[in-house]
Symmetry: D2
Subunit: 409 residues, 4 copies
C-alpha cells in the first residue's frame, strides 16, 4: 500500500508543531530546572507548592492556546492522526514535564483512550472528563511481580463477582503514576475466568478501581535504578479483597485482552516518539560538550572516533524517526491491530538505539554525564527501563519474526 510511505505532517499541523516547539522552548524550558529542584521535602508523593504553581500555570497556558489533549486520534473531533501526533510527541520528548503540560502524559493518555473508546457514559462522566481536563491523574495496573507478564495468560490477580461487586485479590507492581497523590483512578487487569481450559484470551477483564479504595494497599515504591521516581512513582500494590461495583468493569467480562490490545499500540508508539526527542537532545548535548571541552590540544569532538559517533547517531536517529512515523501512519491506515508488527518493530528498535546514543553523550561528558548536572543520567535509566516496559525487546522481535516467517510458510 503505497500510501504507507507518505509520512508528511499534514498541512494543518505545521503551525501547531511550531507552536508546540516554541511553547516548550519559551514557556517550559525556563522553568524545568526549578521544577525538578523544588520537591516537597515532607511528602515526596505530593508536589510542592512551587511545583504545583509551575505545572498548573503551564497547563492553563497550554490549554488556553489549544495545545491540549493532542493524543486522542478520534474523540470528539479534537484529535490528531497518529502521524501528526508523532511529530508533536517527538518535541515533547525533549522535556520531562512537557507531556503533562499538554495533558499528553502516560499512562493518562492510554487510560483516556480506553475510557473514550470503551467506557460507559457514566464511567466517562466520572473519570474521563476530569482526566481530559487535567484535574486528576490515573494509573494502569497490569504487570505482576511473580509471573512473566509478557505472556498475558499468566495474569494471576483475580476478580470474582460477589453480590454485585467485583472482589479483587492479587499483587501488581511497577504501576506507574500510582504514587502521585493526584492519582485518583486505576484500570486493573484481572483474571475473571479461572478455568484453565477456557479460551486463553477471554479469561481476563479490566476493572476501574479508585485509588482510595480501602482494599488497595500500597506496599511501597519500586525503585528504578535506585530512585523512587517521585512523585510519579512505580508502585507495588496489593489488592486485598478489594471490592468495587460490578459496573466498574470496562466493556464486559472477558474482554480485558481485547482492550489491552487496542491500548498498547499507542502507548508503545508514544514512548518511541518521545524517545526520539531524547535522542535528539542527547546528540545535541554530546556535540555541544565536545565543542566546549579540550584535551590534548583539541576540542573533544575532534578526538578519536567521535566523528563516527556523531555520524552514526545522526543516521540512527533519522532511521528511527522514519520508522516511527511509518508505524504511526500504519496505525492511521490499518488500525492498531494490523499495525502491531510495525509497532513491535519500533519498540524493539528505538529504545535500544536511543540508549546507545545517550550512552555516547554520557561518555563525552565524563563524570558530569552521570551526575545531577545534566539530564543525561535520568534519560539513561529511563530509557533503559523502556526496553522492558510494555513488553521486553525480545517479545517484540518475536512478533516481527513470526510475521516475516509467516510470509513463506
Amino acid at each position: 500500500m503505497s500510501e504507507l510511505f507518505n509520512l508528511q505532517l499534514s498541512d494543518e499541523f505545521v503551525p501547531t508543531l511550531e507552536l508546540v516547539k516554541r511553547f516548550i522552548e519559551k514557556e517550559i524550558a525556563p522553568l524545568e530546572e526549578e521544577f525538578h529542584h523544588t520537591p516537597n521535602k515532607d511528602d515526596i508523593w505530593t508536589l510542592s507548592d512551587r511545583q504545583s504553581e509551575i505545572i498548573e500555570g503551564l497547563k492553563a497556558k497550554a490549554r488556553e492556546q489549544g495545545l491540549w489533549n493532542f493524543f486522542l486520534p478520534d474523540w470528539n473531533g479534537e484529535g490528531v492522526s497518529n502521524l501528526d501526533y508523532a511529530y508533536l510527541a517527538q518535541e515533547m520528548g525533549k522535556s520531562f514535564i512537557a507531556p503533562e503540560v499538554f495533558n499528553c502524559a502516560a499512562p493518562d493518555t492510554g487510560n483516556m483512550e480506553v475510557l473514550a473508546k470503551y467506557g460507559s457514559p457514566e464511567q466517562q462522566k466520572q473519570w474521563l472528563e476530569p482526566l481530559l481536563a487535567g484535574e486528576i491523574r490515573s494509573a494502569y495496573a497490569m504487570t505482576e511481580p511473580n509471573i512473566a507478564s509478557s505472556d498475558a495468560k499468566n495474569i494471576s490477580t483475580t476478580a470474582v463477582l460477589e453480590n454485585g461487586e467485583w472482589v479483587i485479590n492479587g499483587e501488581k507492581f511497577y504501576i506507574s503514576g500510582a504514587g502521585d497523590s493526584r492519582c485518583a483512578i486505576m484500570i486493573v487487569m484481572v483474571q475473571t475466568n479461572p478455568d484453565p481450559d477456557a479460551p486463553m484470551y477471554l479469561r481476563q477483564s479490566q476493572i476501574l478501581v479508585p485509588m482510595d479504595n480501602p482494599g488497595v494497599e500500597v506496599l511501597g515504591p519500586m525503585h528504578v535504578f535506585g530512585n523512587p521516581d517521585a512523585p510519579h512513582g512505580h508502585m507495588h500494590l496489593k489488592f486485598d479483597n478489594c471490592r468495587v461495583p460490578e459496573s466498574n468493569i470496562l466493556l464486559g467480562e472477558g474482554r480485558g485482552f481485547e482492550i489491552s490490545q487496542g491500548r498498547l499500540g499507542p502507548g508503545r508508539i508514544h514512548h518511541c516518539m518521545r524517545a526520539l526527542g531524547q535522542a535528539e537532545l542527547a546528540l545535541e548535548l554530546m556535540i555541544k560538550r565536545g565543542l566546549s571541552r579540550e584535551a590534548f590540544g583539541k576540542p573533544l569532538i575532534k578526538l578519536g572516533g567521535n566523528f563516527d559517533l556523531v555520524a552514526n547517531s545522526r543516521i540512527e536517529i533519522d532511521s528511527c524517526r522514519l520508522m516511527v512515523l511509518q508505524a504511526a501512519k500504519a496505525m492511521d491506515l490499518l488500525g492498531n491491530k494490523e499495525a502491531r508488527i510495525y509497532i513491535s518493530a519500533i519498540k524493539a528498535m528505538v529504545p535500544k538505539i536511543t540508549g546507545e546514543i545517550i550512552d555516547r553523550a554520557i561518555q563525552m561528558y565524563g563524570g558530569t554525564g552521570v551526575s545531577q548536572w545534566t539530564p543525561l543520567a535520568s534519560m539513561y535509566t529511563g530509557n533503559r527501563t523502556l526496553r522492558l516496559a510494555d513488553g521486553p525487546d525480545e517479545v517484540h522481535r518475536m512478533v516481527v519474526a513470526r510475521a516475516e516467517i509467516q510470509k513463506y510458510s
Copy 2:
C-alpha cells in the same frame, strides 16, 4: 521542509513498478541461471553467443514495453524522479542482469547522465545516443592505485594540452566495465592544472577517451576476492601518452570536480537502492532455507537466535529503505549538491547493514551459502566491495558528522 517526508511512489509509476517486478519474475529470472552458466570459454571478456542472445533478447523486449532508461531524471521528458527510480532500482537489485536489461546498469547510467547534462551536441550524438540505445557500453576512470582517491585533490593522472590534443599519462585501476568487449568509451578524471597553489577543486578535468585509443593499455583485471568478474571486469589501465582531441573534454578545463559532484550522488544512491533489493533477497533465502532444513528435531529457523536475526533483518531493511527513499526525495527537492549529506548517510549505512544480512543468510545455508549453488557468495563479495566503491564508509561518515557539528559551531 515537511515534503521531505512524503516518500510515496507517484501514482503514475505504480503500474510501472508492477511491470518491472513482473518482467524480472517472468522474463529475466527464468534465464538468469543459464546466462551465468554459459560464459564464453575462449574469451572471458566477450559474451558467448548464448549470453548475447539472452541479454539482447531481454533488452529488446524491455525496450518494447517502455521499461528502458528509467534512471535519467530530467532528460527528454523520459525520465523519472529519483524517488520513483528508487522503487524501481530496488526491484532490479534482486537480479544481477536486470539493470542491464533495462539499460540502467552502472557505470553507464552515470556516464549517460553526465553526457546528457554536460556533453556537447557532438559528444551526445557520438556517445550518448548509442548508450541510450543500449548499443555500446562505457566506463568511468577515476580511482588510482597509488593514492588515497577518496581525497580528490590526490588525482595524479595528468592531461596536458599539446597541439590541440590532450596527452594523458598515468594509471587508473578498478575501472569497472572496462573489461567488457562492448565497452567503447571511457570518461577519465585527470589533473589538468599542475600548480599546487591553484584552487584545489579547479585543477581536475574529465575527458572522453575511446577504449580503442592506442594510448590506453589494459594492464590486467583487478580481482575482487579472487574473481576477475568477467566479462564486466574492473580493469587496471595505463595511459601512456594517450592522445585525444581537445574537444573531448567535458564541460571545460578545471571542471572535473564539479562534474563528479553531480555524478556521484546518483551513482551512490543507485548502489544503495540495488543493495536493498539484495538484502530482501538474502532475507527471503535465509527464511526459506531455515524452514526447509532440520537439525536437532526442528527447522533451523526455530533454533537459537534465528528469530532475532529475522526480526533484526526485517527492521534494518525497512529502516534502510526509508532512508534511501528520503535521500532520493532530497535529491528531487534540494538538488544533488544539497542532498549530499543524505546520500553520504545512506552510503555509510546501507551496504554495511546489507552485508550483515547477507552474512546471516550464508550462516543459515552452511557451506552451500559460500558456494556457486546460491547467489549469496557473489552478493557477499559484491556488497563488501560497495563499502569501498564511491568513497569508503569512513569518508561518508565524516561528511555526515561535519554537517551535524556545523549546526552548533
Copy 3:
C-alpha cells in the same frame, strides 16, 4: 617474554582463595542485605549502629583470619603479587561490602600504596597505620569539574607555598569516599608550578589534606544516576585558601604526576578484577532467573536468543579474566609503568563487556531487574560509571593504539 603467559595462582594462595570465597559466602553474604537495608536515616553519611556493628564485626573476624590488606604487593612482606590478588579481587567483586571487610576497598588501597611507597615516616605513622588497621578511611581528590581531567596537564587547582604552608585553591568533584564520616584524610592533586612553559609533567604535586581542615568545603554530593551513593559519597569539594603544613607534600614538589602514574595502574586493575566478579554474578542471576520463569510454555532461558547470550557471556567473561590476569602478571614482571599498555587494554575492555552482561541479566529479569529487589540495578549504574572513572575508555584505547602503531613507526 614467555613467563607473561603463566597466569596460574601461586600454590601458597590456593588455600587463601578458598578461605576468601568461603568467608564471603558464609560470613558476609548472610548479612549483606541487612547492611544495605539499615541505613542511618538521620545522617546518610554516617553508618547506622547496626551497619557499624555488621561491618566492624566482619572486619575483626577477617583480620583475625589473616584475610586483611591483601592488596599491598610489596609492603612489609604481608603482600601478595598482583596476579594472586587478581584471583582474590574477583571474588570480592561479588559482594558490595567484601572489599571493605578485607580492608581492600578503593580508594583506601591506592592511598595506602602511595603512602607505603612515597610517604615519609611521619606521614606513614599518622595516616598509613590507621588505614592499614581499618580505623579510618580516606579519599583521593584528582578530578575537577571544569576541565577534561583525562589530560593531566589540565589540572587547575593550585597550591602555593606561603610561610611554610601550602595554600590550596580550587574545586574537585567525584571525590569518592569523601562523604563517609569516617573519611579522615585526602590526597589532593594540585598544580604547584603555574609556569605554562615548565615541563608539563613536572608542574603537579600531591598533598595530604585532612578532611576536617577548615579550608575544605563540601559543596555537596555528586549523584550517580540519581543516587548520592551514601555513605560513601562522591563529593564536590571546594578548597578555599585551604592551608596545610609544607611537610604534607608527598615525595616532593613537582612529583604529583609521577605518583599518580604509579597509583593508577593498580587502581584500574582492581576495578577490573572486581568487575569480573560482578559479571560472574550477573550471569549466574540471569541463568537462575531464566530457569525459574516461564512464558509461552517454556523456561525463559530456552526462548529466542537466550542461549546465545549465555554462551557469549561465558566466552566474554573468560576472555576478560585471562586478560586481567595477564595484566596483573605484567605488573608483577614489568612494573606498573611498563605494564600500562596491558592495564589500559583491560580498562577499555572489561567494564564495557561487564556492562553488557549485566544489561542482559536485567533484560531476563524484566522490571525486577531495575528494581531494589536485585543487585543488578546498582551493578549496572556502578559499572557504567567505571567506564569514566580513572580515565574514559577513549583515552585507554588511545594508549593501546599508540603503542601498537609505534611498533611500525
Copy 4:
C-alpha cells in the same frame, strides 16, 4: 584446576618457536608470492613444476631441521603438547603454505591423528607412513549436501557389507583437499546401521577409501566465494556402489561418531590458532598501510576512528590468543572430550573476531584490499568459511550455553 591458567610455552619449545618463525621469514616468505603466481595452467589440480620445486624444496629443508609433524601430541614421542603446538600454529597461520611445508596442513593432520590413534598396523603402514613422510595427501569426507550436517545423526551416505566389502552410496561435498592430484586417501563418514531406533551415535562408521577407487566420482569443485581454491579443492563427490575391503573400516563398525569426536577438537583448535596468525598479519598490514597513505593532510591511521580500530584489534587478538592457549591447555590436561566446551568457545569466538579484523584492514586499503595485490581478500573469504567449517558458530555457542546452564540445573 589452577594449572589450566599456566599457558606458558614449555622451555624446550622456546628455541623451536624461534626456528619456526625464522624459517617462515627467511625460507618461506621469499617464495610465497612466486608459489601463488605460477599455477599449472593446463591442470589446475596439479602443481606446476615450479610449484612442486618450491614446496618440495621447502619441505625437505624443514624436515631436515626437524621442523616437521609438530601436530601429533602423543605419537612416537615426536609430538608436542597442544599448548606448545598452539604457539607454533599461530606462526604458521601467517603464511598460506607454511602448514604444508611443516607437514602440518589440514586435513592431513586430523587424518594422521586418527590413523595413529585408531588405525590397524596395516592401515598405518599403507597410509599413515607416507602421510607422515609428506609423500601423499588425504581428505576427510563428512559433510553432505542435502542435510544439516551439524547434526551427526543426519548422515545419509550408507555403507553396507556385501561379500567382505563395504558398498558405499551417497554424496559428500566440501571435501577439502580432494582436488589435489596428490590426494591418495580419504576417510569417509558413513551410516552403517539403517535402523532409526538404534542408538543414534552408534549408527555411523568411518571407512578408508582410496581416491582412485572407481566408485568415487568427482562431480566437481565446490566454489568458495567464486573460487575453486585449486589445487587444494573442496570437492563434490558421489559414491556410486563404491566397494572397499571390509578391513578398511577404522576402529570398528558403529564407532564413527566416537572417532569424529576425538578428531574434531584438534582440527577446530588448529584452525583457530592459524586464524590468530592471520589476525596478527591483518593488523600489521592495516597499520603499515595506514601509516603510508595520506588523505586530508594526514596519514590515514590518524583519521577518524582508526585509532580505536587498532586498539580494539590488539585487545581482541590478545583475548583470542589467551583463550586459544587455554583451550589447548585444557586438551592437554583434560583430554579432547572434556575440553570440548573450551574448544567450542574458541571456535565460536575466534573466526568471528578474526574476520572483523581482516575486514578493518581491507577498509584501510580501499580497493586494493579486495584485490589480488594483498593476501587480505583470500584471508577474508577463507576466514568467513571457517565460521561454517567444523560446525557453524551457532552450534558451538549452543554447546557452551548448555554446559553453562547445566551448572544451575
